[in-house]
């Protein structure tokens, strides 16, 4: 018998265990594993529904070559990486400040936590449409507010007119929705830091900044790594907010890798090229996770 919780484990219990776990594994393998294998197969074949009659002939790595040399894909890759880098830098810093605020004991903390959670909990279609309204030159609050500073800003158009301003609007909508969750992850990390460590530091005359640098940050490392991995993957795979706010435009200047994947699969019904793009996306996501896991690996002696 092992020293686990739950008392005596018989072999019958173990079979029951496999039986109880099976549905989760079957469901997740069917939804993720099956498409993964199917994508590998498709990416090595010609498979486009728009050319219905053509045979699904084996094409080797031709699809990969085509994707990797396609300026549309390279553009989407660059945009996705820049968007991810900007998002994680900004969001993690703001979320950390927010987490410290949510952690503090004060009257009204429950209300603050609920208020902050609402943007995270509502569907992306809500956050995207809400900011689309806010940034609209006629219906929106942003230009109404900016008009107070400069008359020319009263009818500044954000979405669909300028690439830069489209990205600003997307970035605002995306960060507004996702910072709360990162803050909650960091809050969980703050909650497991024992209070007497701070008490001891305070007795020793440490300033707020010193105890933040020397206690909070190092002890928050596991929570920070979780939050970073989570936020990075989410930003790398950004889709909904872009589809709803800009549809990839103006031109294709706000297309990201996930958006391109949608376009290739669903609009162009090109499952060979789409399969290659998807696998490259999976590899990118795995590579980023692996880098973080390595970087934050606890030092073992």
């Amino acid at each position: 018998m092992k020293g686990r919780a739950g008392g005596r484990i018989s072999s019958g219990d173990r079979y029951l265990g496999y039986l109880l776990v099976a549905p989760v594994l079957v469901a997740l393998v069917a939804i993720t594993g099956y498409p993964l294998v199917y994508n590998i197969w498709n990416s090595l074949h010609f498979d486009n529904l728009s050319y219905g009659g053509l045979p699904h002939s084996f094409t080797g790595v031709k699809n990969y070559k085509a994707v990797l040399t396609n300026p549309v894909w390279i553009g989407a890759l660059e945009r996705t990486l820049v968007f991810t880098a900007v998002s994680i830098c900004f969001d993690i810093v703001v979320a950390l400040a927010l987490a410290l605020m949510l952690h503090r004991q004060f009257r009204g903390r429950g209300f603050l936590r609920a208020a902050v959670l609402v943007p995270w909990a509502v569907p992306t279609v809500v956050s995207a449409m809400l900011w689309k309204t806010m940034f609209d030159p006629r219906a929106g609050f942003v230009d109404y507010f900016l008009a107070a500073f400069h008359p020319a800003w009263a009818s500044l158009s954000w979405l669909g007119a300028s690439t830069f301003r489209s990205w600003v609007a997307i970035f605002v909508a995306d960060s507004w929705k996702n910072i709360p969750f990162v803050a909650i992850l960091l809050l969980a990390g703050l909650q497991v830091i024992p209070g007497d460590v701070y008490e001891a530091a305070r007795v020793d005359g440490a300033t707020w900044w010193q105890s933040f640098r020397r206690i909070t940050l190092p002890l928050l490392k596991p929570a920070l790594s979780t939050a970073l991995i989570f936020r990075t993957l989410q930003a790398l795979l950004v889709f909904d907010v872009i589809y709803i706010m800009t549809g990839g435009g103006p031109g294709n200047s706000t297309q990201t890798l996930s958006f391109l994947s949608y376009n290739t699969f669903i609009v162009n019904t090109d499952f060979g090229t789409g399969g290659a793009m998807s696998l490259l996306l999976v590899v990118l996501a795995l590579a980023v996770s692996a880098i973080y896991v390595r970087a934050f690996r606890p030092v073992t002696t």
């Binding site: 173990r14 989760v24 939804i31 199917y38 279609v125 809500v126 900011w131 309204t133 999976v282």
Partner: protein, 301 residues
């Protein structure tokens, strides 16, 4: 809190808190803190006020735009958008589709994740670590990489443009977090309870049904809330698999609303946005504590 609280002796009460001294620096810091809290609450909630305000505009006011007498406080209130969204835009059908799919996904998730969570926490299954890692990884799998193969599969069995397959597909959102959360929850239940029942000759399944499930209700409830939110919020799968408006889910339907030539009727869009935000906002306000605890449960182990 009732009036029946026994007055504690003053001396004892005093020893609980350090005496409060009002130093000017401290007062200023407190004031700044509360100012920051107010700003955070405004950033989180003001956009919701703005869409409610826009939803209550008449079509004429939307065409005229914000400004003049129609500013942060609207010039007049009109309920026409809330009527039109059901009569003209036929929002009721997508709303019903979303409710059906989200509730069904939640029900399946709760049953399947409870079984697996219990087995992973209590029954000594070989490879528990690997199973948990796989479940976590599946939760991070890029959604837009799965849609191509899943589209082809649904197409081959004639299940495209149908809401019911979404119930299965949405499990990829709900199962990873729910299984982890419930596994952690079951681990925290003292095993003496089970041991006593097992000693009395109960079988594992009886123990699960009669002892564990009743104690686990709060954890199951949290998993249900999170699952409902995640299923209610999907956009990517719905936009990829559903093609006719009668089969749209609510988030997808909203993206087709309010476009009429060059005029975008944000009052109609935002009325729908307000409607689908209400159940989520209520859930968050009522269950903030559970949601925060649930979101942080699976993060560092």
């Amino acid at each position: 809190m009732s009036g029946a609280v026994v007055e504690r002796p003053l001396a004892r009460r005093g020893s609980h808190r350090r005496p409060v001294r009002y130093r000017p620096g401290k007062v200023i810091r407190e004031a700044l803190f509360y100012l920051a809290v107010v700003i955070v609450v405004l950033i989180a909630l003001f956009p919701f006020y703005w869409i409610l305000r826009t939803a209550l505009e008449s079509n004429g006011e939307v065409a005229a735009g914000v400004g003049g007498s129609n500013g942060i406080i609207p010039g007049s209130l009109s309920g026409t958008a809330f009527r039109d969204v059901f009569t003209q835009a036929q929002f009721l059908t997508p709303l019903r589709n979303s409710v059906v799919v989200a509730l069904a996904t939640t029900a399946v998730t709760v049953v399947v994740a409870s079984m697996a969570g219990y087995a992973l926490a209590r029954l000594d299954i070989r490879g528990t670590g690997a199973i948990l890692a796989f479940i976590l990884l599946a939760g991070f799998f890029p959604v837009l990489a799965m849609i191509g193969p899943l589209f082809l599969m649904l197409r081959s069995i004639g299940a495209l443009n149908n809401i019911y397959p979404l119930i299965i597909v949405y499990l990829v959102y709900t199962l990873p977090i729910s299984t982890w959360l419930l596994k952690n929850f079951f681990q925290q239940i003292p095993s003496d309870l089970e041991d006593a029942a097992l000693t009395d000759g109960a079988t594992r399944l009886q123990v699960l049904r009669k002892v564990i499930i009743p104690v686990a209700v709060p954890g199951v409830f949290t998993a249900a809330i999170l699952s409902f939110i995640l299923a209610w919020n999907d956009f990517a799968f719905a936009v990829s698999f559903l093609t006719s408006t009668g089969n749209f889910t609510a988030p997808l339907a909203i993206t087709t609303f309010g476009q009429s030539g060059f005029q975008v009727y944000y009052n109609l869009i935002d009325a729908a946005v307000v409607i689908i935000s209400i159940p989520i906002a209520l859930l968050v306000l009522l269950a903030q504590r559970r949601i925060v605890a649930g979101l942080t449960a699976g993060s560092f182990r």
